[in-house]
Symmetry: C4
Subunit: 287 residues, 4 copies
């Protein structure tokens, strides 16, 4: 049955993508002209992150913060302030442009530039999450090539798995749209980043249903949140309650992604999967 | 009053469209470049289907799996593994391109290609569901011409009916948007396949309301699900509860589509309807 | 305080727009090629209307059915079958194209063509509702010119009012998006007619809140439904419960639109409003 | 800890944007052709505002009404009728075109024209909210230049803050999409101003969650409503209940924006922030 979950019914990784202005700028640098939009995004690192760090300390649970290189670069003390609280900082591209929107060379350059930012700040990184989860077929190899041990962008399972690459295999800690706060809370008219603002009552009800199902199937509950969204007062209180109830369940293990990835590596029952691009006949499917 | 429902207050057909990558590829083969998107779709046959098969065994209820020919072809043992568990496999086009997006010749070629795949795998098929339910006026005749006895793509009633064709009549097992998990759960930004991710609590509440109404009007509750959506832990647990409660009601009959279609054929109170394309004056309605 | 409500806390007009294929064809006659879509729309008159008529009889409440001329013409007995049950049939354009999408001459021709259809079927009509509620500034005058006494397309109040025209004033029975089943239940991918399918539990909760508020402010609860939507089993059962609870409240009056319009005419406290197109400076607002 | 909140757990500013026809006309003056749409918008000042004023009197709480100059100009007694009831009227642009959609000169001219309207009506204004919250980097300086003391368009915090300008600093009373009734209630098909109409039960549940969170973090609950939306019977009743429950909590202070802004100015613990447009490299982010 494997050892990666250390006997827990389910493993929870709380992850926060500290995107700040980058997802908006990736839609066009002209959006920097919009002061309201910029203030909407800066709320994340300025207000959301400190509040989240305090919550995690109150709850005594670890978390992983995926930060674009551009954000770490423009807010020099940010990444370190997170590491100092015992949490993990991980690679989330440089610019928050999706790999699938770039050429292979552009993806590599963007990837490397983020590595250099963290290196210059002496932030040791062990894993990667693609911007907008838009991983290309090259992404796993880049992760391996730059010495990282895990990725967290794919959806091929709801339990950790290993992916073969040209170099060493990497661990995949899969995500899912239903465990992302963006689709529930995000709203901006231009760029259009969301349609409906849901109540945290609905959102945590849905997450609770998924976690309870995962406790039956022994899965990874890899929750993706954004400080500019989940840092809001009503939402962070709902998250607090969600964590409290999960701790009370008593059979769930909270982990940083890097620690979980190491446990997956050490699990002899898991063998690397070779991912193959599906063959697509041009006479059947148009471009 | 008819015999098709065998005295039950309502009949339930659990159906699963095992689309895998096809609905995304039908939007453009370029989407095969997106590793995350491909992993999102492969979750269906890889993780969702085995979990669903186990649930059906636990509940001891039969189901029907509509599979595109392309999917059956690229995953050789898949269709047979479903049949071996006592369930039905049915025709769901070859490529998952909608008939209304193709010429009549293209629709026929696509239809036939799927027939050949199932024939080569010795999977006996008895019915058809159009990709995206996008049936053309030619579709019922194709169903009859290739020897199938039923279609399940239309919405002209909420009870089974018969459709006259150039050949023998076929049975229609009608579907509806409100009994499809896609509109409730599906989300991908590109191709854009959905806007809001709903909680399974809301979804099963809505399905419960519809089934309760159908028990009053003696209807067919033809539920359409997708393994890459409803195979997720929280959703499959909600489906489990839904099935359990339905079994407890005691007045609902679960059937495979093919068995229900046969019962409809045997019901002397049902006469074939002749479907006629509405006459549309060009001076009233623009193209 | 007026007499139009006859002392009731609120007045309810149940209205059903029997649109059948017309709203889809108004988006383009090419949609007639899509058999599923056509079946989706024909469900309204074929299945929804008889079920609704039975419900109204069970509840012993009157209703008003707005029917496009095209629909009445192509289903010759439909309008009469509704009148025979004691309900009102009213004018809902000929083609279900919005007046704001037509020239003044086109609107007039479409309006007149519907009048002729009802006249030829000996269906006496007294009121009008614009297709898609898209009334033009000419619409009220057309209503008066063709001898109708009320319109039901505007949103300038939540109580009936009178509108001055070039001829006699007409009564306006205002509608609202929040009292329309379309925005809650409608879904078709192409033409795109809706995004989210809501549960009838939410919908009737929202309608209940509005009716309760209207009972405080003595308003008109003018509910707009569509047989192809609200005729579905789960939704019609929710409507049944909604009507039952409203009847139990004991202070709400149900009326046909024509009877209410007559009561408004007879209410000396109501004076016609002169509607004026707002002056819009071209230097402030672009075209 | 500051003094701006006067010891309350949270401060509530009830604000109403009396937009009337302007947000629709800003999408194109051609929309004035649509009588229904115009009636939908005029409901705000005609029906919603008087109802809201009565509610505020019943609850004995103050509010702030942001009015576009065009609206005040075309409804001469409107602004004064609000001031006479003890509430605040504030600047909401002239035309309700977003600053980010205009040149700097256009924004200035629009800003000034609204100042002149209020001056000519002897309505003393102290604050500003950008149309659609679309503040440009110039907006805060305009606010200071025209002698206003606060703006309410940004989202950089959920507590009041000060912004440095070329002249004196101004107070920012931040807003947020989740505390706006527009995203919950607004619907029009053309111009498309919203997708889903939510129940007031959900909306006040969400606002309650946010206010409760804000009571923990001592924030500003700056609620933005629109009379054409929240003036509807069911919604205003939900607002009534929301205010009643908030008053009962006993630890929340209700204020007009101008009074709160003055308290922020008087709070020695708050220092002006210098807002800086983020540097955006053109080689990283496309236009």
């Amino acid at each position: 049955m494997g050892t990666w979950h250390n006997g827990a019914a389910a493993v929870v990784t709380l992850t926060f993508d500290v995107d700040a202005e980058t997802p908006v700028l990736a839609e066009g640098r002209r959006y920097a002209d919009n002061l309201m939009t910029m203030s909407h995004q800066s709320y994340g690192p300025d207000v959301g992150v400190p509040r989240i760090l305090d919550l995690l300390e109150d709850m005594n649970v670890p978390a992983t913060f995926f930060i674009p290189g551009w954000v770490a670069e423009h807010r020099p003390g940010l990444a370190d302030s997170i590491v100092q609280r015992g949490h993990e900082v991980a690679h989330h591209s440089y610019s928050h442009r999706s790999p699938t929107s770039m050429t292979a060379d552009e993806e590599r350059a963007d990837f490397e530039r983020a590595v250099e930012v963290f290196s210059s700040q002496r932030i040791e990184i062990a894993g990667h999450r693609a911007a907008s989860w838009g991983a290309s077929w090259q992404t796993p190899s880049l992760v391996a090539e730059y010495g990282l041990i895990y990725d967290s962008s794919l959806m091929g399972d709801d339990r950790p798995y290993e992916i073969a690459t040209n170099l060493t295999p990497i661990v995949e800690l899969p995500v899912h749209w239903s465990l992302d706060d963006w689709e529930q809370y995000a709203f901006l008219p231009d760029p259009h980043i969301g349609s409906v603002i849901e109540s945290p009552v609905k959102v945590t009800e849905m997450w609770r249903a998924e976690l309870d199902g995962m406790r039956r199937y022994q899965c990874l509950f890899n929750l993706c949140m954004h400080p500019f969204l989940s840092g809001r007062p009503g939402r962070i209180m709902a998250l607090r309650t969600f964590i409290e109830e999960t701790l009370e369940a008593g059979d769930v293990h909270f982990a940083r992604c890097r620690d979980l990835a190491q446990a997956v590596r050490d699990d002899a029952s898991i063998s690397p999967r070779r991912l193959v691009r599906p063959p697509v006949p041009p006479d059947v499917y148009p471009l």
